[in-house]
Symmetry: C2
């Protein structure tokens, strides 16, 4: 059995170094609140507001460290509340996506793009992927046997020596399956 | 192919005749806004507020006609926002579920129970069920080929001469699959 822990991602934001300075002040560095499942990644102490044409969320967690481009990941439910219509995308692929206003204690940024609904995916360390015969970018079928059992299709495999084994789904997907972070999913044989 | 139209249920409330009178006044009758997929059922013009320990929703649609017991159906996302922890249940099975405060223009009701996350299900007219060899209460596997394809398991078949063919899922489930009301799902062979 190819079992994978589930991590449910609530809405969050990744910030570029430039935007961190606009939002928090010149030279500001994010403070680590707690480490995430992926090595080197962390939830920061800092939060920002994100403001859409229809609604806003006041306390959105920043994930660190800083990235090349600012990216906001929301659920479809969140997107309706904000009044934006982001596509389902892999992280980093933000061309042509909608923007939002991001507000911090020192200033605000009007993003022209960067809002996505994250495509569900599994991070594999190279050794886990090799052991199970899984290759980077492969599409997997994954059964989640929660309170509301279902099989996610088109789950994208992402393989790297930098990764730790973890399946990332958003809150809509976690709620639809009736599961919580830390519960296990099973990759099905094709 | 056993194809079924999908109906996505947003949060809503069914009211008992007694509660309609408390919320809207003695002798009040719900007004039909538009018919639903199930014969005789309708979305009412009236809305109420539902108030939980943590949050509230101001405009919750009432579905008519009146029922024996008041029942509130919310998504898991809604339940977190309200601060209640309802179980996943079939409609009508509300024993031991949490309550909420319901507020209308003429008064309010403090429910002791009645809040559920509705278990996904398909309404079959008796003839559809017979044609496909499906029996009442059967658990089905249903593929939804939306923007985020998945297979829902444990979809409950409900068969009656009063029903029209329709699969009911909630907004978390609809968003997790990336589908909208009116799109089609496929019942898989076992």
């Amino acid at each position: 059995m190819k079992q994978v822990p589930i991590g449910i991602s609530a809405r969050h934001i990744h910030l570029s170094p430039e935007h961190i300075e606009v939002l928090f002040g010149t030279g500001y560095q994010l403070k680590e609140l707690k480490p995430l499942s992926q090595p080197g990644q962390f939830a920061a102490e800092e939060q920002v507001a994100i403001i859409g044409p229809k609604g806003k969320f006041d306390k959105v967690r920043i994930l660190g460290p800083a990235r090349g481009k600012t990216q906001i990941e929301v659920s479809r439910t969140d997107a309706f509340a904000l009044g934006v219509n982001p596509p389902v995308r892999e992280s980093g692929n933000i061309a042509g996506t909608p923007g939002l206003i991001v507000r911090g204690p020192a200033g605000e940024v009007e993003l022209q793009e960067g809002v996505i609904v994250a495509a569900r995916h599994i991070h594999f360390h190279t050794e886990d992927a090799a052991k199970w015969g899984i290759t980077d970018k492969q599409r997997l079928r994954v059964r989640v046997n929660g309170e509301r059992p279902l099989i996610f299709e088109d789950v994208i495999a992402r393989v790297s020596e930098q990764y730790a084994l973890d399946m990332h789904i958003d809150t809509d997907e976690g709620n639809a399956a009736g599961v919580k972070t830390g519960e296990m999913a099973e990759i099905l044989e094709d």
